[in-house]
């Protein structure tokens, strides 16, 4: 099948129709070029969206209390809903298999000082689980542990930005930092994925925070992650149930939309995924439509070439060429043109993407790229396209009757 003679003939045919081959090949290259650019752009948008969620676990659920908007159970509207440590224990006990990590949050703003350097930052009391929910990256020392919690130790984990502002070039680990007049020992330093605001923060054991700020067991909000093995439907169902249960527990009208908020990241992700899936489909459709023009072009040129070569095909048949020999010749030529042209378009598109992608990193568009699946799909599409384009001309060629061809003097 891949003999030198066969390729020789294909190359001859291409060589003797250089311009026509180039023009039709160009339409295929263009189709693939558009397809790849579109897919890469959608990928870029998708990356942009995901980056917005970036600093939190993608399976996060947040519960924020607010004030009731409807009177219920003998209470007037406008009642303040509060969450406390018992709610954490309750969720842990009730939804044992549904959650992965859970941590309450208790935040305050603090005046921090070290030596002559001072600054205003926020501090959040959390439990050790919070590390995984917020995707905090500890780059020195450690995070808050159970021992810190149990002994209400005055220890803090400090964000990268604060470390730079208060400690300059000094190593803060193990040093004391003064927060609102109380000394805390720095046990760890963290960074957070691409979010400076998050790095402008202290984390402390929630037990310590609750004792220092008001000797309370209240918390500001609950952060948890659902079981990562959950499907999208299961995840949504979990947060729905959680909302119903929490409303019942806090004596809130089930129809009161404002008293307590349960935010499930799964919903946002599903929306992004739906959106990008649709965009991907549109891109593929547009790419294919352009490609069809290329296929028709190649089919057209092949029919033309076969018409020109009718006599030659007739001679070949008289000399013993079987119909399949002729079909093979035409199909290989077609597949060859589409594949070479398509790869040229693909490489050109990928070159452009690689060249511009470092300069594009906005909130909505980041790191446009082509994955291997796209490349493989495009290759298969090209070969199939080549076969389709060559099919009609090949059958036409195989049907050439030697007598008629030879008569055409």
């Amino acid at each position: 099948m891949f003999s030198r003679d066969l390729w020789g003939e294909i190359f001859h045919s291409i060589k003797s129709n250089k311009l026509r081959t180039f023009l039709t090949g160009f339409s295929v290259a263009w189709g693939i070029f558009i397809l790849v650019i579109l897919l890469a752009s959608v990928k870029g948008m998708e990356n942009g969206f995901i980056k917005q969620f970036g600093d939190d676990a993608t399976n996060s659920i947040f519960i924020f209390p607010s004030t009731t908007k409807k009177p219920y159970g003998g209470f007037e509207a406008g009642r303040r809903i509060r969450l406390d440590n018992d709610d954490v224990t309750f969720i842990k006990g009730t939804f044992e298999d549904s959650y992965e990590y859970i941590s309450p949050r208790f935040s305050n703003s603090v005046n921090a000082s070290y030596g002559n350097e001072t600054g205003n930052y926020s501090i959040t009391g959390v439990t050790p689980d919070h590390l995984y929910i917020e995707k905090t990256e500890i780059y020195a020392g450690r995070y808050i542990n159970q021992n810190d919690m149990a002994n209400t130790l005055k220890v803090v984990v400090m964000g990268k930005v604060i470390a730079k502002e208060l400690f300059k070039d000094e190593d803060p680990l193990g040093k004391q930092v003064i927060l609102n007049g109380l000394a805390y020992r720095i046990i760890g330093l963290f960074s957070d994925d691409g979010n400076e605001r998050e790095e402008n923060k202290f984390y402390a054991p929630i037990s310590t925070m609750q004792r220092v700020y008001g000797n309370t067991d209240q918390v500001d909000q609950l952060a948890l992650t659902y079981n990562p093995e959950f499907t999208f439907a299961e995840a949504i169902n979990f947060s729905d149930v959680l909302e119903i249960v929490m409303k019942r527990r806090k004596v809130i009208d089930p129809d009161d939309q404002g008293a307590i908020y349960v935010r499930n990241y799964a919903e946002g992700f599903a929306r992004v995924t739906d959106f990008t899936t649709v965009l991907n489909l549109i891109s593929i459709a547009v790419g294919f439509l352009v490609l069809i023009a290329g296929i028709v072009g190649i089919g057209n040129i092949l029919i033309f070439i076969i018409k020109e070569r009718t006599k030659e095909i007739g001679v070949r048949k008289a000399l013993g060429a079987k119909p399949f020999d002729v079909i093979k010749l035409v199909l290989l030529e077609s597949v060859f043109i589409t594949t070479i042209a398509g790869f040229a378009g693909m490489i050109f598109a990928m070159g452009i993407i690689t060249a511009i992608s470092p300069f594009i990193d906005t909130e909505a568009f980041s790191n446009p790229s082509v994955d291997i699946v796209t490349v493989v799909t495009a290759t298969v599409v090209l070969i199939v396209a080549g076969l389709i384009a060559g099919l009609v001309p090949a059958i036409k060629a195989a049907k050439v009757k030697p007598i008629e061809a030879l008569r055409a003097d």
Binding site: L319, G320, F324
Partner: protein, 233 residues
Amino acid sequence: MIEIKDLHKSYRTGSTSLHVLKGINFSVKEGELVAIMGSSGSGKSTLLNILGMLDGYDEGSYHLDNVLIKDLNETKAANYRNKFLGFIFQSFNLINYKTAWENVSLPLYYQGVGRKERKERAIAYLDSVGLKPWVEHLPNELSGGQKQRVAIARAMAAEPKVLLADEPTGALDSVTSHEVMALIQKINDEGRTILVVTHEEDIAHMCKRIVHLKDGVIVSDEVVEQQRVEANV
């Protein structure tokens, strides 16, 4: 070698039917050199096409080397053509972007012979028609006579049982015509069966037997004294 019995062939064009061959009985033995003559419309081209398995027939029978040739599918016809027949055309029909030896080796290519052996055999045949120095030349670098000799070498390359020549000298001047006929005679002397379709009397008389066709029937079939051509190839 060739055995034709009561052969009929009609062409249908729309509602009218044209009866071209009206019962041909004809046989050729091995080693014969037969000229088929007739004016245009006599059915000689149709007969040659049927002999060449390029066309089918309606009635009768055609045996080639004791094989019945009837209702062949395309692939089988291609196989038989390749194995049994060598074609020589009036307009040579060489493939213009292939060198002399590549043209000659084409039937071998379709037999699946490897490139190296093809080249050796093609060169041997080109040598036998006196074209060894032109092995690597393209057809447009050759004269008409040389082209026809390449075509003859090509027809012989697959060692067919029968050579079919359709007006082999029709496009050549008389000197080169004689050269080509000398070559055909030489090949015939070596024992090859050859059928030549021609409308030129002098060419026909260079064969050993002349068959006249008129209006779809054979009107005469006679053995003639062969007029030898002195070859200076």
